[in-house]
């Protein structure tokens, strides 16, 4: 494989080269410590050396709000919504976020494949970039290293003063046509180490979860949790949604709109008549964690948590997913050694 050297000073030139070909979505600085994937208008705005964005690139394939159909109340008729094909480049994607896209691909193709997601998703081009784990990343514990380039068309590995650029697919090769970069003959630096770890692999985690249904950690977590659903909203593999009607001000037209929903919210499991099937915050916390490490994982063998650390970073109550999981592991192992 040929490796190129992308000098730090030439990153903007590289971005501009991409922008000439297709829309480029990349991390932009929003505040001192906050970053967001945005459509790039100026090549200089792109920040490849970032910690994590609040929302993953999920938002481009499963938008926070999306019209499912438009209706005309005067005629009692509806028409489908045109879904734009995304011929776009997603630049500066961390390995855990691309892994999360792979998880969503599964969710939206298994059973009934969903046109809306797959149309947006199908023509996406990914340019990954390695990352330096901060105190919340733990993707290494779920098998996702900072230098993983799975699913990427081009991958960038951070050097002291630039990037090693590897072309991984034909699409990637086409993108680079017309931009001349020097070959990179030296090696690649090792990426940094993680500060947070889950200490057992998924195969064992499933077993741990099996024995954790009534663990006191759910109640203890619920005492801190305010049930705001932020962890659901920032999770790159959460895909649950609700559907509501929007009628415009003329009361003649409107849309059926779906928007992100979260299993941490009380109304999520409410049925007509008011019955709520996960009434306690403890049961909702358990559902969230089991959704990431047990339910789909038992069918696919993969954890549905990609270790991005967002739910912990943005939790208003300071709840850590790593602490919960390690607590379950510890309790399970202690019980196995000395059955009570």
């Amino acid at each position: 494989m040929v490796q190129f050297y992308l000098e730090g000073d030439r990153v903007s030139e590289f971005v501009a080269h991409l922008m000439k070909q297709k829309p480029v979505y990349a991390p932009h600085r929003k505040g001192q410590k906050s970053f967001s994937f945005e459509k790039t208008e100026n090549a200089e705005d792109v920040v490849l050396d970032y910690v994590r964005t609040m929302h993953s690139i999920k938002k481009f394939f499963l938008p926070p709000k999306e019209d499912l159909l438009h209706f005309d109340l005067t005629k009692n008729e509806s028409e489908p919504v045109e879904i734009p094909m995304s011929e776009a480049i997603f630049l500066g994607v961390h390995s855990y976020d691309l892994a999360a896209v792979g998880r969503l691909d599964y969710n939206f193709t298994v059973g009934s494949p969903e046109k809306n997601y797959l149309t947006r998703r199908q023509n996406a081009i990914f340019i990954g970039v390695s990352f330096e784990p901060d105190k919340y990343h733990f993707s290494g514990s779920v098998g996702i290293r900072p230098e993983d380039n799975t699913g990427c068309d081009i991958f960038l590995t951070k050097l002291f003063d630039g990037y090693v650029l590897e072309i991984l697919t034909d699409k990637g090769r086409e993108l680079m046509e017309g931009l001349s970069l020097p070959a990179h003959d030296a090696g690649k630096p090792a990426t940094g180490h993680f500060h947070q770890h889950i200490f057992v692999p998924q195969a064992k985690l499933s077993e741990v979860m099996e024995h954790s249904y009534d663990n006191p950690v759910w109640e203890e977590t619920a005492e801190k949790c305010v049930g705001c659903g932020t962890c659901n909203l920032v999770c790159p593999t959460c895909y649950c949604f609700n559907v509501e009607e929007n009628v415009d001000i003329t009361a003649t037209k409107g849309s059926r709109e779906r928007h992100w929903d979260g299993c941490m919210l009380r109304k999520f499991s409410e049925v007509a008549g008011g019955e709520v099937f996960r009434e306690s915050l403890a049961s909702r916390q358990r559902h969230r964690i089991f959704r990431k490490f047990k339910y789909i994982s038992d069918q696919t063998g993969q954890p549905w948590c990609v270790g991005c650390g967002r739910c912990t970073t943005y939790c208003t109550a300071g709840i850590s997913i790593v602490s919960i999981v390690n607590r379950l592991i510890g309790d399970y192992e202690r019980a196995a050694v000395a059955p009570i």
């Binding site: 005309d72 494949p113 949604f241 299993c263 999520f268 339910y295 038992d298």
Partner: protein, 283 residues
């Protein structure tokens, strides 16, 4: 997952777009429940199994899941029994025959009638649990030669709340049907039994080795009915139950109907009891 193995998205069906079906008949069943007979466009059959549901919508109001109440043996249209419970059902209540409503589905697994064939069929229905169970009852009635005895236990809050009273009278008078009904609280004119639905079970004359049961009712009912059936000697593998959850999308995506690992709109709403015995959120 390799996306290139899929059909191109343009060829995929739009999962969320309803067809416009026509309300042909509206009848009040009780103070809270209304009957609708609905015809699919171009005379098409809905093509459902007993125990399945549809997503019904009215533009500008909303969409929700409703159990199909008619048996597949009813041709040309299908029936719903709807309890007034929110905005959509309020608006639905004002609709007259001729109105077009959005329909998606049928969804869910439905009742596997093969498991009931050649057996005595016990139906335990509480309240509007009768609405989905009626799809199976009428299926058995219309295919009498394929099933053994039909035993129906129906419980309701009061005699005013009994649904499909014309049909209840037919079932009561049909010598081939062992029909039992009770109400929690009867009015002065109520001549029948009073008490919760479980009071009907001890007195049933059942051929335990050859009877398969299907239960549907309010959430609180299931575990008490199970206890009664078990003390009667009913085996777990002969018990099926239809569960209610919030099946918002119907296609296994939105997450609302999940019970532990199971999407009710995909694996249910009809479950074989041994499969959900260990699912702690199920009952």
């Amino acid at each position: 997952m390799n996306l290139s193995e899929l059909k191109t998205p343009a060829e995929l069906e739009d999962l969320y777009h309803p067809v416009m079906a026509e309300i042909k008949e509206v009848k009040r069943l009780s103070a809270m429940e209304t009957y609708y007979r609905v015809e699919m466009p171009d005379g098409e059959e809905l093509g459902h199994k007993p125990g399945q549901f549809v997503e019904l919508s009215i533009f500008g109001v909303g969409e929700a899941p409703f159990s199909i109440s008619s048996s597949p043996t009813l041709k040309g249209s299908f029936e719903l029994g709807v309890r007034r419970a929110g905005m959509l059902t309020d608006v639905l209540l004002r609709q007259q025959p001729g109105t077009k409503i959005g329909i998606r589905g049928p969804f869910g697994n439905g009742i596997d009638v093969e498991k009931f064939k050649g057996k005595d069929v016990l139906i335990v229905a509480g309240g509007i649990g009768l609405v989905p169970m009626r799809s199976m009852i009428n299926y058995v009635i219309d295919n009498r030669d394929q099933f053994g005895k039909l035993i129906i236990c129906y419980g309701s809050k009061s005699d005013q709340d009994l649904l499909f009273t014309d049909e209840l009278a037919q079932w009561e008078n049909d010598p081939a049907i062992d029909y039992h009904v009770t109400v929690d609280q009867g009015s002065d004119s109520w001549q029948g039994k009073t008490g919760v639905i479980t009071t009907l079970i001890p007195g049933l004359d059942l051929d335990l080795a050859n009877t398969v049961c299907c239960i549907c009712g309010p959430p609180v009912m299931y575990r008490f009915v199970l206890l009664s059936l078990k003390s009667k000697g009913f085996a777990d593998e002969n018990i099926y139950m239809s569960l209610e959850r919030r099946m918002k999308c119907g296609v296994g995506k939105c997450g609302h109907c999940q019970i532990n690992h199971s999407y009710v709109c995909q694996d249910g709403p009809v479950y074989h009891y041994p499969d959900i015995k260990s699912m702690q959120e199920a009952l």
